[in-house]
Symmetry: C2
Subunit: 357 residues, 2 copies
């Protein structure tokens, strides 16, 4: 077990249990783990392993190889060798291959890469994952504010972080709080989901008040209630489609202003076309079953309008949230569909009361 | 550019363009790329790089080190050394560190690990990602059916695959086909999303026909249309919550029969509680605004019932799909919310016509 993984396990325990365990194990192991417990779990410090190969840049090839072999005895695996100065400041990294290929008279400091990537202990784990993935690194050194070498984070930790972040994203997107464990019990699930449902209930009262306003219209033409549900539902689904594509684009690459503008324009076009096609199908249906061409026209217009609103809201709301520094996945379908409910009802019932009655 | 990445780019071109480019570049490079083009893009063969360190197990320490240094000249980075016999059969892997630490008289074959992980060229990329993540490998060798060494897949390819699969999951989950590129234009978006919306339109006609059946009930009590929308919407959201948790559980670890049973039971309980709490809030609302206790009771029962249905459907449908071999993410909210629409309407309008009129 690596120190970083051991620390993750121990950090789940109560403080008393932590203390007890740390007193029982080997003193050196305990001090490594105590150090790691000081960093937040989702920071580079919380993710790093302090078992690391570090050699002084002044060493010769032979001395360095001996030192690497000595240090690697206690280690499962290592990928890069960290080169430090006399005061443990990180000055570069070097690979075992480069040392072997070097001339015998060389000093290690001459072998190091001029630019290398590193992170601070307080860097967020998502940022670490991005760097490791972008530069295809097997490991990345972690330093403090004064460039003292603290530890390393390896690619396998990052793979775990990515799985975790992706689970969080899909749950948040669906209105489940990020701290609901997938294997948790019903109490945890209620605690995580009920607040979102109550938020939705609050916004649904808004939709109900729109309908209450058109009470007479519905009483005169009951089937409007059916088409109302259809148009609101289709709007909700179209908004979720636009939302998913936009949220995913934001999390994979930050969009420039121009790209953001074009994204919203694209979703407007998609909403117009998908709305018109579906509206036309329902129009034919209304002609055939309800024998009411005007009703068909009202439905066609309401469907097209609501799917345009869905596309624009589904793409612009997460972009705005991102801009003001809120996680765009929070614009979950739960919130965004209220938009299309309210506007769908207003469009259909408003048009119906003007054109039909 | 590695061969695997170059192949990915070239595979996007038309066959004529591919041919032209392959004729223009260096013959050795072209033959590497031609080989890789034979494998499906999402298989281990499509993902692998054929530039690889391979040494014969009979070599001595000195010979092996010379050979590794010679082969690594042409290579950006390598992580493990593949050991083969005279016929290029893979017999094991060894690390550079192990060779350096070994006695001078040793044969490489004596250093190899007894059990090592490898994949066949036709293995699916998701399976490769799982192995690399599970065993914390920097790279995994790819072999043909006769254990001939073909290439290697490195962890950075797998990080890309994981991002890709996760994008696919969240899009599929939201009713967007997996082949819509995030940065695609509106034509591509319409093509990918319209079919799902039309499926949803088809199922919505089902919901409309339920409402048509209760036409008289709605005409007598117009506000029912409002509560109808509220209860169906809440059911849809609750179903999406249960669906997200279950789909994610399935994709991270396969559930046993017993766990599957307990998952559905848990979602039943969650639906019961969340439904009763929300139902009670609306009951108070109906008492206050509509001054109709019986209407309040009907809403309470319909909300509770529909959220139980949402929990059971949201968890059991993906489990059943998984069992019969269909990707559970296909049970996207688009399909599963129809369930809660239809049952929500049946419950509310059915109860209302029995108890209220």
């Amino acid at each position: 077990l690596d120190y970083d993984d051991a620390t993750d396990i121990i950090s789940q325990l109560s403080e008393d249990d932590q203390k007890e365990i740390l007193e029982e194990i080997d003193e050196e192991d305990a001090s490594h783990i105590r150090n790691l417990l000081n960093y937040p779990e989702d920071s580079a410090g919380g993710l790093m392993n302090t078992q690391i190969i570090r050699i002084n840049g002044k060493l010769t090839k032979k001395e360095a190889l001996d030192e690497v072999i000595r240090q690697s005895e206690e280690m499962e695996e290592f990928y890069t060798i960290n080169v430090v100065d006399d005061k443990n400041h990180l000055v570069g990294i070097v690979s075992l291959k480069d040392i072997i290929k070097a001339k015998n008279t060389i000093r290690i400091i001459e072998l190091i890469k001029a630019d290398f990537v590193y992170v601070k202990a307080e860097t967020d784990q998502e940022e670490v994952a991005k760097l490791i993935s972008q530069y295809n690194l097997t490991s990345i050194p972690v330093v403090d504010d004064n460039m003292h070498l603290l530890g390393r984070i390896t690619f396998d930790d990052v793979i775990d972080v990515m799985e975790e972040e992706n689970t969080e994203d899909i749950l948040k997107f669906s209105g489940v709080s990020e701290d609901e464990e997938l294997s948790g019990n019903w109490k945890e699930a209620v605690k995580s989901r009920l607040p979102w449902l109550i938020i939705n209930l609050g916004t649904a009262f808004l939709a109900v008040s729109v309908i209450r306003h058109f009470d007479d219209t519905i009483k005169q033409l009951g089937i409007l209630a059916g088409y109302m549900v259809m148009i609101a539902g289709m709007g909700g689904n179209a908004a979720t489609q636009a939302l998913a594509v936009t949220v995913r684009r934001i999390s994979l690459n930050d969009l420039t202003d121009n790209q953001a503008y074009r994204t919203v324009l694209k979703e407007f076009t998609v909403g117009l076309i998908n709305g018109a096609v579906n509206g036309f199908i329902v129009l034919l249906f209304a002609l055939f079953f309800d024998k009411n061409p005007m009703l068909g026209l009202v439905i066609f217009l309401a469907m097209t309008g609501n799917l345009i609103i869905a596309g624009v809201a589904g793409s612009s709301i997460p972009l705005i949230l991102k801009r003001i520094g809120i996680d765009p996945a929070i614009a979950s379908s739960i919130i965004i569909t209220t938009f299309t409910d309210v506007f769908g009802f207003l469009l259909l019932l408003g048009l119906a009361s003007k054109l039909l009655l």
